[in-house]
Symmetry: C2
Subunit: 345 residues, 2 copies
């Protein structure tokens, strides 16, 4: 994708910016008179019209019909996000709001994640999503197996960062609770310090030689655990916010958006894909998902102990308040990183 900046002189940029700003707020096509008044450039509507005509030709603006104003194209939003946005700072009240609502006394990761999603959605009034910390990249500190019934046990994995996750797994019916405990201690000892993803290849051979007859069972259990742990969960909040925006007043459109969000598949994919980019913005059809054709998704990563361990983001109409969203996300990302840092130290 080429850099579009060079195509536009400063005046065109300022006019385009004014249009995008206005459209983001009002959701209705912007006319030359409005731009002339709003942007303090001292230009008459006629001049603006000429420029707008050029911008339309260049593909930055679209005209719903001849006698309406213009609305920004996706290309315009892209340029806006890349080069034109006032990278808004949060107001004091907003920063305060976050501080008050992210309760640092909470001592469970899941709870912190839920709170963060809540705050994110409340502040932006869009749909928020937070990917809970990912396991694949974290080192195991402890694996406990707890017998539940004949044939099943609960596996609890604790990582060095303190993030935990649990899953039910099948175990051979022949194992006694004592056996289970023994195996539990063994694999903790062996896996300590490794990533779970490495477990199967690196550690299994060693275990195999030590446990003898139960080797196959242990092997299967470990694979079962790894499979369960590599499933990522995503916390989605405020899906119904979309109904506040006129572009979704059509029930069918709202329906397809909400169904997609409820399934969580696409959102999870986006979050996972973006897990190594500090901040990413997908606008409209940049989402390769027809149901999200009129949406934008903005994501940031968050850290603990210096490593990226998760991603969070916001979904809303392409006409999204990118400046505010990005400011909130930046702030929340560092808040969450702080909290997790302390929580997991």
């Amino acid at each position: 994708m080429s850099d579009n900046t060079s195509l536009l002189d400063i005046r065109k940029m300022r006019i385009l910016q004014a249009i995008v700003d206005d459209y983001i707020m009002t959701a209705s096509p912007v006319g030359s008179r409005t731009v002339s008044k709003r942007s303090d450039m001292g230009l008459s509507p006629a001049t603006i019209r000429n420029e707008m005509s050029d911008l339309t030709e260049l593909g930055f603006l679209e005209q719903p019909h001849t006698s309406a104003g213009r609305i920004p194209s996706e290309k315009a939003y892209r340029l806006y996000v890349n080069h034109m946005m006032d990278s808004a700072k949060l107001t004091d009240e907003e920063a305060d709001y976050i501080k008050r609502h992210l309760d640092t006394r909470v001592h469970e990761v899941g709870e912190v994640i839920r709170q963060t999603a809540r705050v994110l959605s409340d502040m932006t009034n869009y749909t928020s999503m937070v990917l809970v910390p990912q396991f694949s990249s974290l080192k195991v500190k402890r694996i406990s197996l707890i017998p539940v019934s004949d044939g099943t046990a609960m596996a609890v994995v604790v990582t060095d960062t303190g993030v935990t996750k649990n899953a039910m797994i099948r175990i051979p019916e022949s194992l006694s609770p004592d056996d289970v405990e023994k195996i539990s201690k063994l694999i903790t000892r062996k896996l300590d310090g490794y990533r779970l993803s490495e477990a199967v290849e690196k550690v299994l051979p060693q275990i195999r030689s030590e446990v003898g007859e139960q080797a196959d069972a242990v092997c299967e259990m470990l694979e079962d655990i790894e499979r369960s742990m590599s499933e990522t969960d995503v916390e989605v909040v405020g899906a119904s916010n979309i109904l506040d925006y006129p572009e979704y007043s059509d029930a069918a459109k709202a329906r397809s958006f909400l169904t997609e969000v409820e399934s969580g598949n696409y959102l999870q994919k986006v979050l996972t894909d973006a897990s190594d980019v500090e901040m990413s913005v997908r606008i409209g059809t940049e989402n390769d998902n027809p149901d999200m054709r009129d949406c934008s998704v903005v994501t940031v990563t968050y850290k603990a102990g210096g490593k990226n361990i998760g991603t969070m983001g916001v979904v809303g109409p392409t006409r999204m308040d990118y400046g505010k969203v990005m400011a909130v996300l930046k702030y929340l990302s560092s808040s969450l990183s702080d909290i997790l840092g302390k929580l997991l130290k």
Copy 2:
């Protein structure tokens, strides 16, 4: 509430039933001609009109405006549910659908619950909700404490039915992993067979005398565990289905419904309240919640080992296909009970 049956003769009943049946399907006011044709009673529209006029006076029908047909009142739905409904049987395909989609190979309670909610919502096309098995009434078989970091541990509680639940709790920083394990074994031994709700009163004194200096800590941990475990979770699926019904084509109405559902508060309350009634139906304003004024909620309980252990249900417009919903719920309740029975035996 008095029984309304006596108020209506058989003909009025049949007419009312025809109207409710029709309105449930079409969502538009039903006129006398339609009733005359649909119900094979051999009565002319004029006669039907006289009866409908009576039914209106008695409060079973309402008229949106003079020249529209009639729509059933809440009172009519109540009568319909109590006395008039064809208590529909599932078709073979439907029963089959359930069998195919409730995967009995799954071995985790949470997963079964999610599947059930999914099937329930898919089959009815309303919003479904399933309360995960409640702890308060179950007996503890094992409590494991797993050290996570200085000051926190994960508590996993396994009940005699095999239902499990876990929570992060605070522990004194001074406790070593070995201490934690010792305490874990101690409280398992002491609590085995008791309900968690009884734990604090009955068992604490005993423990107190045994652990000496750590008594207070153990005491607090147990309270922490009990508090966490008594929180009930509800799985909600298909909230966006509501957008398929014309009565929710208004964005503001849809919004308030979806917000209420997303919060889950009210649904959880209804499910918990209904946890000792085999099947309950709340119609419209019988829900003491303004946002649910135009909804009906139908719930059933499900069992494991002969005891009620949870509740599930459906939320939809008051114009709900009660017959089908109740049939599906009945069938699903017994399927789920079966599966859990096997799973938790």
